[in-house]
């Protein structure tokens, strides 16, 4: 690392801070799209008039509710009447299942958006259970569902962050939790690069750079664990779901890096310390990447998106509004933590020079 890069490091901080500030303000002020968050009744009976109240999140005045639909096994039942007040949609149903058996139904709320010819729908999976009664013999499901062809999902029309049932407002954490891991991977990759450089040229400064980037990378990992743990508590009801392959991979990987710190601290001779630590660093980086990026993808089940057969963020939740803040957040945090790593290296270099001068 030359003096020019060190002089430039303050710009890493400034540009990083501008990007993070942009994601901080924009990421918190952008509202969530309108969505259904729940139903007052979890169970209704067929062949009976039943009323249920659906809760909307962030309803907008441009949305005029037209009807609530229940969907089960490809069939649709429309509400007989519907009224909309604020974030409450009250719907009365008279569902005849006919030949269909009891079971969970999904709820769709359909409404016009902006003008009366533009229709959108919102969706709640497994909204309520329909219990079939004995006098229910003939289905009254809709025979014509052509109107659905001209109805768009609200996500495609409305601006804002995606409104997901489990994630809700916590989806904003994507801008802080995930960039920590990206930043960690970047810093650990730089650390490994300088370890290889040290092994090739034997310059102790390369070892100090490698160590500094690794220290800040590990710190990123700890921050990623803390931010993820809080998010997991909110969405998965557990601080650390033990059977998630990604979390187990991270735990093993972090301990490997803690072992690096212990290994370094246990050696006295600077050159021996640098050589052994560099070899160990080069060895564990690919293993760590395999543990957090490859192994979870091969696992059968995982709570994390894009792993173990679950749907990736990219396909499902990461829409363009979120992307506008997500990518700058990654670059911003990488910039800030790179500045801290370089500062850490400069302190180490200064300390070593001071020791040298004292010895002379």
């Amino acid at each position: 690392m030359n003096d020019k890069t060190i002089r430039l490091s303050k710009w890493f901080l400034i540009f990083g801070a501008i990007l993070v500030l942009y994601t901080l303000i924009g990421g918190l002020l952008t509202p969530l799209k309108t969505g259904i968050v729940g139903s007052s009744k979890l169970r209704i009976q067929s062949a009976t008039n039943e009323t249920s109240i659906f809760d909307l999140y962030n309803p907008v005045k441009e949305l005029q509710i037209e009807g609530v639909y229940l969907s089960k096994e490809g069939q649709l039942w429309k509400s007989q009447s519907v009224s909309h007040h604020g974030n409450k949609v009250e719907a009365t149903f008279h569902v005849n299942l006919g030949s269909y058996s009891s079971g969970y139904a999904d709820a769709f709320i359909r409404g016009s958006y902006m003008h009366k010819d533009s229709f959108v729908w919102m969706y709640l999976s497994n909204a309520l259970w329909i219990e079939k009664l004995d006098n229910d013999t003939l289905s009254n499901a809709l025979t014509n569902s052509d109107f659905l062809n001209t109805t768009q999902i609200i996500d495609q029309v409305q601006g804002g962050f995606p409104n997901r049932v489990v994630l809700n407002e916590s989806i904003r954490n994507l801008l802080y939790h995930v960039p920590m891991w990206f930043s960690m991977m970047f810093l650990l990759a730089v650390s490994m690069f300088y370890s290889i450089k040290y092994l090739r040229f034997g310059n102790l400064q390369d070892d100090w750079i490698s160590m500094s980037f690794l220290h800040v990378g590990v710190l990123n990992g700890i921050l990623g664990c803390i931010t993820g743990s809080i998010w997991a508590r909110v969405t998965w009801q557990s601080w650390w779901p033990a059977d998630d392959p990604k979390l187990n991979g991270v735990a093993i990987g972090m301990f490997m890096y803690f072992a690096y710190l212990v290994l370094r601290a246990s050696l006295k001779d600077d050159y021996q310390k640098a050589r052994i630590a560099s070899v160990y660093n080069v060895l564990i980086f690919p293993i760590f990447m395999a543990l957090i990026a490859i192994m979870p993808k091969l696992a059968d089940n995982s709570l994390h998106p894009g792993t173990g057969g679950s749907v990736g963020f990219n396909n499902y939740d990461l829409d363009n509004t979120l992307r506008m803040y997500f990518y700058p957040a990654i670059l911003g945090w990488i910039g800030i933590f790179s500045f801290i790593a370089i500062l850490r290296f400069r302190i180490e270099r200064l300390y070593q020079k001071q020791l040298e001068q004292e010895n002379e």
Binding site: L13, A17, L21, L24, L29, N173, L219, W231
Partner: protein, 76 residues
């Protein structure tokens, strides 16, 4: 020197990500809390305080950077 090392680490530890996560998780738990903050304009105050803390940390980082440059120049 140890104090400076500690400060560099503190810079990263005090990053607002932690504060933001605590705030976001609260919103996830209780919609009413989010609604309360939004309706009485406290939400903007929270964002304002976070921005001020963050800017403070950035300025502190720049001051540290300048101090390091002076120390390096003196050593040369």
């Amino acid at each position: 020197m140890k104090k400076m090392k500690l400060t560099a680490l503190m810079l990263s530890f005090l990053s607002p990500a932690l504060i933001l996560n605590a705030q976001n998780s609260e919103q996830g738990i209780s919609e009413k809390a989010a609604e309360f903050l939004a309706t009485n304009a406290k939400y903007h105050v929270v964002i304002g305080v976070l921005v001020v803390i963050f800017l403070g940390l950035v300025v502190y980082g720049l001051i540290l950077n300048r101090k390091m440059s002076n120390l390096e120049a003196n050593q040369k």
